[in-house]
Symmetry: C2
Subunit: 332 residues, 2 copies
Amino acid sequence: MVSIKDIAKRVGMSPSTISRVVNGKKYVNPEKRELILRLIEETGYVPNKSARDMVLKRTFTVGIVIPDTFNMFQRQLFSIIEHHLESFGYHTLFFFVKFEGASEDDCLQRLKSEKLDGVILLHEIKSPRFYEYLAAVGLPCVIATFAAAEQRIPSIHVNEEQAAYDAVQHLIGLGHRKIDILSGGSFSFGQQRADGYARALHSAGLSRDAGREVFVKSYSAEAGMYGMRELLLRDRDFSAVFAATDELAIGAIRVLEDEGIKVPDQVSIIGFDDIDISSYIVPRLTTIRQPLGDIGERTATLLHKRILGEKPAESDVVLPYELIIRESTARV
Amino acid sequence: MVSIKDIAKRVGMSPSTISRVVNGKKYVNPEKRELILRLIEETGYVPNKSARDMVLKRTFTVGIVIPDTFNMFQRQLFSIIEHHLESFGYHTLFFFVKFEGASEDDCLQRLKSEKLDGVILLHEIKSPRFYEYLAAVGLPCVIATFAAAEQRIPSIHVNEEQAAYDAVQHLIGLGHRKIDILSGGSFSFGQQRADGYARALHSAGLSRDAGREVFVKSYSAEAGMYGMRELLLRDRDFSAVFAATDELAIGAIRVLEDEGIKVPDQVSIIGFDDIDISSYIVPRLTTIRQPLGDIGERTATLLHKRILGEKPAESDVVLPYELIIRESTARV
DNA sequence: CTGAAAGCGCTTACAG
DNA sequence: CTGAAAGCGCTTACAG
């Protein structure tokens, strides 16, 4: 591989000068610059990133911490984020974390061995050690899709509770009174969406009933099937269900269909997230749309600013969501 | 950040020795090793990856070249690959490439600036320059999901043509005679799947008809809707369609449903890939399952071996696929 | 505008 | 088993 020294030798100049033109610094004689540029082209010289990172003490890469079992919403989100990050000149490294506690420590360990420029959390890390580390080394961080707990880490998200409230209001507006909920654990949004559900019921004068609530392990279609079977086992006396996630909703519809229960004729289902597939399935899913593109762009931009040392005023960005009414909900 | 020298100073030994214990080399006095290990623990020392990469002249990272518009099958595949790669101790860097020719050059450019240990192609690169570069620098490479063209790059894939043949045979076995095809461009598998379709038709004594074939731009559900509308515009005289991709099939079903045409009662649809969602939608999709897990694992393993310098005998691994009969196909 | 020199944090023969 | 020394490829004051 050709190095900066090789180039220097060939043009009879010092490595310093070559470095200057490679990095587009000024104070270089225009003619020499031309000459050097031509030679770089000819030889196919590319700077050695490791050497550069080493002296600069940064790596131009940001880590994205994401659940091992990421759902489609998170999948779509991370490719948007990675796209923007790339346009800012960053590499991105993925850190998958499982739900077991040990996995968070592993993740932290891996994080330490990289000299990241910044990190984005798409997964809600619990371990305080994690946040202590971030603070200790002053590693810029942005949380996407979750409100930060107490820590002073900026986050980009939607008002989950209010959105869920609106979703359930939509059901109530359609005349539904017997509304079940299918949500999941592990993440705070599962709880917040359940909170919005409860508040909507309350504000409509409906009483909450533990028999109408099931919390499954994850947020997948598989989990949705499991949860709906459980709901069916308990009591068939519901006319609508609020699924905390589109995938949960898809699994729920699957089970209902298998039982010969028609959606939305007999049961209305509303999801949350508006993943790609939701507008193609039969029936098209009524859901809450999170502004994926916006979340992704702002997350990447905010992190970039923090890496550059800017301290943006806004530390908690709450973005608007949207109720998307399609075919899976109907008047009771 | 604490460096190897700091540790050396604190224990009164040389950096060489510290390096040896950090890298688990032998020839170190057991007691000193203990002492050093303890200090590393205490100080939270982590080796500087950039420095290490630089002297070792490798980066322990592999690049994954993937289409910008990757579909769900590719999405699932790359997370499996990344998972295995991580277990081998590699980082992975994504290189998204668009369909425009220029994008391949960009990708090549980026590839050059990284000192990758290896690369995996999930996207069918056309540019010969790309392969020339790989050969020139001796960069290990494995292709997944495509048969390599002439180049001597090992690849892991399924017999696309034969699988498509089987898919269409399934339709024929169900009594269908008027079978349309919905496929896409840009990738060789789109053509190979179409070839299998043609051969199945031929072997059943059915004549091929350009009016029954539509090729759309991509392989998404969106494209599937577009393609099915086109098919409908031409002639409603078909009882089955072979969609080259599950997502294409999902879009096709969507349009049929909107037109009041029942699947599979009036039209049978078969897909290809068996993406996650295919077993949850209504109707469940009949499709060809590609052995995702196996492809991912073998791809990662094969690349790892090549990086280590082993030249495995098998350069073209053809894996078995499986016809998954579900609900979207029925007797005519 | 330009070069000599030092240094980033590690590894690896080489000589004990 | 261990240390001194050189070197990986770059950048950056510093002195012209």
